[in-house]
Amino acid sequence: MGFEEVRFEKNSDKAIQNKPLQKALVNVTDRFRTARNKASKEVSDWEELRSAAREIKKNTIANLDKYLIMLEEKVIKAGGIVHWAKDAHEASQIIVKIANDRGVKLVVKSKSMATEEIELNSSFEDAGIKVVETDLGEYIIQLAGEHPSHIIAPAIHKTKDDISALFSEKLGVPHYEKPEELTKVARERLRSEFLNAEMGVSGANFAVAETGTIVIVENEGNARLTTTVPKIHVALVGIEKLIPKYEDLSLFLSILARSATGQKSSTYVSFITGPKSPTDVDGPEEFHLVLLDNGRSGILASEETRESLYCIRCGACLNICPVYRHVGGHSYGGAYSGPIGAIITPQLMGIDKASELPFASSLCGACHDVCPVKIDFPKVLLELRKNVIESKKLGINSGKDLIEKLGIRFWRFTVEYESIYKITNKLSYYLQIPWKRSNGKLNALPYPFSRWTDKRDFPSVAKKTFRERWKEIKAETG
């Protein structure tokens, strides 16, 4: 990924100060979460569906090589062209070349996290090709020059007023008040782009190995236009998006829609197998499938964290996450945010570039409970934390690291020996006196404990610890 090193603490501190953002995050995550909870309860065997989906994903990922070859064969058979991209750079090059070779000047895009991941838009722009996002949320953030802040609702960090001002500035329209008016502006602009574009770029929610079909779910209809109106359709698909059988779709489409937006089904579900056939009235003349690795095979190789690849990008983990709720999507740096971002961004970008992210969780486990494929987020986060610490073993990267390492060493030394543990507690009791207030709490402790006491009181070490009291308790109770 071309993204810069992730500075989660710095980013999140800024997000917390942003009051309109805080309000928007609470509203949107509450709305999605409530809808998802309701939709999951409508299905009596929801837990079984989750287990079944996980099992399918597990088997698919374990046999990914086989299914990828199968997919490639089927796509070619259907008249499509398959490209393999080992990283973001290669994927962008392939797609830009397809456009350049055919003299494409205007590209329309439907919502795709994979294209965000490889920052495709900037590659198009560098090549002098105009690219227009057609999902309303993506259209807004493209105008603003930003990255999406939510997997399924990319512009949730923007208020209606922000969007009104943005449209007015960038599109020269009046300051519209109503969402309907704003949507109408976008709709009118986008219609002409659809009709003039020579190429459409999409992602895919699923790629079915046995039929070579890619499946796209959406609610706006823009993806269907993107994939049918222009002469060329290019789909960029992460290699983990595979499912083996067509019949598996009924399960995955159901859990995806319910987990993402609380819908029984998304408004539009497009099934695309190759380009337009001679008997089709509409459809693109060329269909290109670009299969993206970009670090995924590295995740596949790690048995401990492989389940990160089971993700179907529903965003339910973002909507339940108490951390995401307070920091928003941009705090996570890369294309992906929330719990899924915290586990895949460090694996895709390299752990040294996002070493804060595995720690950006209180390990509350709420994400694990809502994940439609039951990704064990706490387990993966703990594994990645271990990897971060091990990767730093030879050199301590900062003063902060040094303090932490010394802290852990000191902790281990005290808890390994009961006698030292007791002495430490006794010493702490006396050492804390300068910070002890009349309410018995500690206040204004030095760094790193100041990070607690800046806004919270800290309890004081008891005069008599439990083990010291135990002898008395025993004497009393016999």
């Binding site: 920091v327 709420a366 990070r451 800046d454 919270r456 004081s460």
Partner: protein, 259 residues
């Protein structure tokens, strides 16, 4: 206690937070257990389960400390073959370290996993032990107050204990129970998370405090001192007169004349 062939003996697993900062929680737990006629013992060699290092990514350090814990408690479990022996802990988080995460920590050492299995099956979080093993929800407690309960994440989502603490609270004479909004949302503690990302942690805590205050309760009960010290830290800093109690303290209350 019904139809037991062997008497029950409990080894209490006093977490380092309780030992060092909140010994009264340990005392309350002992009182509740003693009042129910359970034999209680405390092994003084015990210190910590290893969770702080494990959660911070220092698995090698965590393993050394966890091995120590396992040896101490496995030995204890074998002390009295004539008794039904348990390890009881007043923390959902530390209990889940033993019951859930030790398997992860020792996945590459089959020998230790045997020990883990033995210790794990006998380890219970305090409220779960009272309700599921002793079959008691009324422990004879009395407390005059309006109580709300904060679900600690590990107790709720790692150990799946949701109802036991509530049943126990509701059975305390004099208590009016009020569920808060977002009772199952994290309070922002998360161990070292609270000092790694203090502003995020406090932002989460702010919302939790708001929910507690809005519940109208005068006392907030939790089964984990990690959460409690975080919640209490904010309440006391902001001078909000809501009392924070561990479940064991509530259950050890005996009305006006008791503690």
């Amino acid at each position: 206690m019904t139809n037991r062939t062997r008497p029950i003996k409990v080894y209490i697993f006093i977490t380092c937070l309780v030992d060092t900062f909140f010994p009264e929680v340990g005392e309350s737990m002992v009182k509740v257990l003693n009042d129910l006629g359970v034999e209680v013992d405390f092994i003084e060699e015990q210190t910590c389960c290893g969770q702080p290092a494990f959660n911070s990514g220092y698995q090698n350090d965590a393993r050394v400390v966890a091995q120590r814990f396992l040896s101490i408690f496995e030995k204890a479990l074998n002390n009295d073959p004539n008794k039904e022996t348990y390890i009881i802990c007043p923390s959902g988080s530390c209990t889940s370290m033993v019951k859930v995460f030790y398997e992860e920590l020792f996945k590459n050492s089959p020998e230790t996993l045997k020990k883990v299995a033995r210790v794990k099956e006998s380890t219970y979080e305090f409220s779960e032990f009272l309700v599921k093993v002793l079959n008691r929800v009324d422990v004879g407690a009395e407390y005059n107050g309006v109580i709300t309960y904060h679900d600690s994440c590990h107790l709720l989502r790692e150990l799946r204990v949701k109802d036991s603490p509530r049943e126990l609270i509701k059975s305390v004479r004099g208590v009016e129970f009020r569920e808060m909004e977002m009772h199952d949302a994290c309070c922002g503690f998360g161990g070292t998370f609270s000092i790694k990302f203090p502003n995020v942690s406090v932002s989460m805590l702010d919302e939790k405090i708001e929910c507690i205050v809005n519940s109208g309760a005068d006392t907030v009960v939790s089964a984990d001192m990690g959460c409690s010290m975080n919640i209490e830290g904010a309440l006391s800093r902001r001078k909000i007169p809501i009392k924070v109690m561990h479940l064991a303290q509530l259950l050890a209350s005996r009305g006006k004349n008791g503690i």
